[in-house]
């Protein structure tokens, strides 16, 4: 257990824990676009930058990305100092130049007092901020179906060669984790489309409700050794089935006691 000071308040933290987790636990709201607990932190968006110092640093201070900075005993953290706010403002100004059409970035920038970017906006801008959350979550899943392609200005996130990604299983983890909702997908009846690849959704045998794709279910069955019949029916029908089975047992028990 280590003790750190956040905005003047002494708090406890677990050893090896990242600063951002401690800050969030205190209920302090700082923006962190590329951060998600399920993926390794990489510090791509840099918005979680905070100011740190220690008593024996003789007034020296550092600006660090809190998602990547492990806590240390005696750390004094300032999450909203004027310099930190200035850094975040610049970052959001740049993000807004990159993604002028992203409502999420617009809203966040407005919170920091930026309504229009002072830089030149990107022509044909999409909403991708290149945080790599999607590629990292795909890696955690064990698929790595998408990655960054091309270099420099042309760099985009996408499947290999711009074709249908052969390793994609249509789980939607990338689309769900994307902070700016840039990954397009659609569910149309029993067909899910993502990254231009079409997937069959498993329709419940009883009511036809769809939850996940056949490929994703097969992957779970294989990886986690789950019985395939678990995926045949939807959650609603399974609950009704449980009620009927348990009800049958209740009735049978009554007959026995009578």
């Amino acid at each position: 257990m280590v003790h750190i000071t956040i905005n003047g308040k002494v708090v406890k933290a677990r050893e090896g824990e990242m600063l951002l987790s401690v800050i969030k636990r205190q209920g302090i709201d700082i923006p962190a676009l590329c951060h998600h607990e399920a993926i390794e932190p990489t510090g791509n968006c840099r918005l979680c930058t905070v100011e740190i110092t220690k008593e024996d640093w003789n007034g020296w201070k550092k600006h660090v990305t809190s998602c990547l900075y492990p806590v240390e005993e005696g750390l004094i953290v300032s999450t909203h100092s004027s310099e930190v706010m200035e850094i975040r403002k610049t970052l959001l100004d740049l993000q807004l130049a990159r993604c002028p059409n992203s409502e999420y970035i617009q809203k966040l920038a407005e919170e920091y007092g930026i309504t229009e970017t002072s830089y030149k906006t990107r022509p044909d801008a999409d909403n991708c901020i290149m945080c790599y959350a999607c590629t990292r979550i795909c890696e955690v899943l064990g698929k790595s179906a998408i990655s960054a392609v091309n270099r420099g200005h042309d760099k985009v996130i996408g499947p290999p060669f711009g074709e249908e990604p052969p390793d994609c299983i249509g789980c939607l983890a990338c689309a769900q984790i994307c902070p700016t909702d840039v990954i397009e997908w659609s569910d149309d009846g029993e067909v899910r489309t993502i990254w231009n690849k079409k997937f069959d959704l498993i329709a419940c045998k009883k009511c036809g409700k769809t939850i996940i794709t056949r490929e994703f279910a097969d992957y779970l069955i294989e990886q986690r050794n789950l019985p395939p019949e678990y995926f045949d029916t939807c959650d609603d029908c399974k609950r009704t089935e449980v009620a009927q089975k348990m009800g049958g047992l209740v009735e049978a028990a009554k007959e026995v006691t009578l």
Binding site: I211, K238, A243, V250, E251
Partner: protein, 135 residues
């Protein structure tokens, strides 16, 4: 596991108080959450409260590729870590009892967490059809 959550269907009268207790306990932003417990009628006026039974070898926890579902050793509940969940719906599809649910209002996956060791449904059940006991 120190505690056990027990359902006694023969005592259930289908009053749905547990459902209300659950929804209000899990309210966020002044909106009630989706109930994690479902009293379902299997015959006329005969109900079974269907709720997560915190399986030993739980399919939900096994199916989660992001380790968002973990057992709380104190309460025995398999708890969903919202910060780790990416809403891939694997647990919703995998639970053989259909007790991993989607809360449409708050746009999140939810499951019974035994209210951190003091289940609201148990407190409100008028007929003691729901029991949370020490073992």
């Amino acid at each position: 596991m120190k505690f056990r959550f027990k359902v006694v269907p023969s005592l259930c009268i289908g009053c749905r108080t547990c459902e209300l207790a659950c929804a209000f306990t899990h309210a966020q932003d002044k909106k009630p959450g989706r109930s994690r417990i479902y009293p379902i009628a299997y015959a006329q006026d005969k109900y079974v409260p269907v709720v997560c039974l915190q399986c030993d070898d739980a399919a939900c926890a096994k199916s989660c590729m992001f380790d968002a579902l973990k057992r709380n050793e104190e309460t025995g509940a398999i708890e969903l870590d919202k910060e780790r969940c990416v809403k891939c719906m694997a647990c919703v599809a995998a639970c053989p009892f259909g007790c991993s649910l989607v809360d449409d209002v708050h746009d999140e996956v939810v499951k019974c967490d035994l209210c951190g060791g003091n289940p609201a449904c148990v407190q409100f059940c008028p007929t003691k059809a729901l029991v949370y006991e020490k073992i």
